[in-house]
């Protein structure tokens, strides 16, 4: 029973983290039209930063930059900040008005470059071996191992729910509306006074912050982080989840994350072993590719359709559009 409990708790943590990733990508793609194929890099930077600020000083065992023993809450904040700062830097030169496919390729390549750099330059984050031994938050609290895992899972779900609320609230705001306008007709949006570049950058940075946060949460659970954990292909899994669930659609994003990384990718675990070890992994990637292409063919909008905002009119002085429980994106 404990093995099952551990498995489900871990799955829940991954679900929460993936929801954060999906929210981030959805914001960036759905709203700013930026296809961040390098997403995993921003999650990785959050994870690394969160790790090195709780691990204490660098040692002979593992080398890394910074190094401190800060409380886990601060580590999470720094992880979020790291994601935001990196997105700002990368966004400043890659968000200009270029062909979308070039832009997507650029972001992908940047994450590939980062992998090479981290693996090659060991003093940065201990190269290919990565960092390990990240202490778990609140380990002084007397909980059984099982209890702790569930508590952490609950914590991650809470953060994910808060992020969801934040993102949907932002989408409904005038800011979110401006983003939908620029996504729709960029020239017209500029012609009504919207600074398209600045808006895109803001979305990108907020997405990056969420990515960094997701990385921090993940590393504080797993306790270790290395280049294996942030291969470029991970980004595609989340994108596939978004396609299945619906681009620009937050409810759909959560559904997609449930269907793809959680259910679909975990299912094979319960199937009988076929072929040589590792064959299943290859098959999973093939399946992801196939779903990807199927979604592109059938419904670029995804499974869950967007809903319309109706404007209700009350007294002229208090005319406020009535918003039902809306999918605003």
């Amino acid at each position: 029973m404990t093995a099952w409990s551990y498995y489900i708790a871990t799955l829940t943590v991954y679900f929460g983290v993936n929801v954060l990733s999906a929210l981030s990508l959805n914001l960036q793609f759905g709203f700013a039209g930026v296809v961040n194929f390098g997403y995993i890099l921003f999650q990785a930077v959050g994870a690394y930063i969160a790790a090195v600020v709780v691990l204490g000083p660098s040692s002979a065992f593992q080398q890394y930059v910074f190094g401190a023993r800060l409380p886990f809450g601060v580590a999470l904040l720094l992880a979020t900040l790291a994601g935001a700062v990196l997105s700002l830097l990368i966004g400043l030169f890659s968000l200009r008005n270029i062909r979308r496919d070039y832009q997507a390729a650029i972001l992908l390549i940047i994450s590939l470059m980062a992998t090479q750099v981290v693996q090659g330059y060991v003093p940065l984050f201990n190269g290919s071996n990565g960092v390990t031994g990240v202490p778990r938050p609140l380990s002084s609290v007397p909980l059984s191992l099982q209890g702790y895992q569930w508590a952490y899972a609950g914590w991650v779900l809470l953060v994910a729910a808060l992020a969801y609320a934040l993102v949907t609230w932002l989408s409904r705001s005038p800011w979110g509306r401006a983003l939908r306008a620029l996504r729709d007709q960029e020239d017209a949006a500029a012609a009504i006074g919207l600074n398209v570049t600045a808006l895109r950058l803001q979305v990108f940075v907020i997405g990056g912050a969420l990515a960094g946060l997701s990385g921090g949460l993940l590393v504080e659970y797993i306790g270790a982080w290395s280049p294996d954990a942030w291969g470029y292909a991970e980004t595609f899994v989340i994108f596939t989840a978004l396609f299945v669930g619906g681009i620009g659609n937050y409810r759909g994003a959560v559904l997609g994350v449930l269907l793809v990384p959680i259910i679909f990718l975990e299912l094979p675990r319960f199937l009988p072993q076929v072929g040589y070890p590792g064959l299943m992994d290859s098959m999973e990637w093939i399946a992801i590719g196939a779903i990807w292409m199927l979604c592109l063919y059938i419904r670029p909008q995804g499974i869950v359709p967007e809903r319309r905002n109706r404007a209700a009119r009350t007294a002229a002085a208090d005319a406020r559009p009535a918003r039902e429980s809306v999918e605003v994106a």
Binding site: V35, N97, A105, I109, L112
Partner: protein, 296 residues
């Protein structure tokens, strides 16, 4: 220092030759379709494995080139008609097409990984007798590779400039609607483009593993950024441009590898691609070839 530089340049020329063959294939395709076909690397790997398997069944070293070229041509044609065209018909624009090629590359690469049991196989097929050209240490085989690249360039330029088919291809790349209106059999030209670019892609894959002396499922994929950078830098549809850019990329990569490290040469290659993508004038809306319509 000086001799390291010269020897790096020598290696650079060899690498450039390999890149050039692939880049010429890519640029032909890109010049016509304007699509960033990221499954190009997967096709290279496919052709490389085809040559490897042929070799296991007794096909000699250099004949593997023909096998690989044919495999590349066949797969590219199949993908072009069977995958890209239906998506284009459904209204996919440039960006969606790139996404399609990404999905395709996932499928093909991991299928190859599955079939190859995720192993790397030796491909020591041709002798590596070294030659000394000054301080450049190069093998016989590598020299032949350079000549193959030159041969391909000459053949391609002759095809494009001198033959009727080549002129039709250039016309279509410039303005597909006008070409169609002038009576050019555009459907045929598209097929030819797939076959030609696929052949070159396959050829490059085999040449690559002849040089690297091993083949695995990541063969093409790791190589792709250099190829794309060279093709785009050299100008869509221009074989000569592709070769010139390949020379630059190959030499820079080897120099960085010689004076820095292997990992940094990869980073340099990637970095060049990023700069190219950011700075190409065709990178603003309307794309490299000026037309946003898909010609598939």
């Amino acid at each position: 220092m000086g001799s390291t530089l010269v020897s790096a340049i020598g290696f650079g020329v060899v690498l450039a030759s390999i890149i050039a063959i692939a880049a010429m294939g890519f640029t032909i395709q890109f010049g016509l379709t304007n699509v960033l076909n990221l499954s190009f690397g997967a096709v290279m790997t496919f052709a490389a494995f085809a040559a490897y398997l042929a070799n296991r069944h007794g096909v000699g070293g250099w004949s593997g080139l023909g096998v690989g070229g044919a495999a590349g041509a066949a797969l590219t044609l199949a993908l072009g008609r069977g995958v890209f065209r239906p998506y284009a018909r459904r209204g996919a624009h440039l960006f969606e097409m790139m996404m399609v090629t990404l999905g395709l590359s996932l499928i093909v690469n991991y299928a190859i990984q599955a079939l190859s049991h995720n192993n790397i196989y030796q491909f020591v097929v041709l002798p590596s007798t070294p030659l000394h050209l000054g301080s450049i240490l190069i093998t016989h085989t590598q020299l032949i590779i350079v000549f193959i690249a030159i041969g391909v360039l000459i053949a391609l330029i002759s095809l494009l400039q001198l033959t009727k088919v080549g002129k039709a291809l250039r016309a279509m790349a410039a303005d597909p609607d006008l070409a169609r209106a002038c009576g050019i059999r555009t459907g045929r030209i598209v097929v030819l483009t797939w076959l030609l670019s696929g052949f070159l892609c396959g050829l490059a894959g085999v040449v690559y593993i002849i040089n690297a002396q091993s083949v695995g499922y990541t063969t093409g994929q790791l190589f792709l950024p250099l190829v794309v950078a060279a093709a785009i830098l050299g100008g869509a549809g221009s074989p000569l441009g592709a070769v010139a850019a390949s020379l630059m990329m190959g030499i820079v990569t080897e120099i960085v590898a010689a004076f820095g490290s292997e990992a940094y040469s990869t980073v340099a290659g990637f970095g060049i691609l990023v700069v190219v993508l950011l700075s190409r004038p065709g990178a603003v809306r309307g794309g490299e070839t000026g037309h946003t319509q898909l010609t598939l």
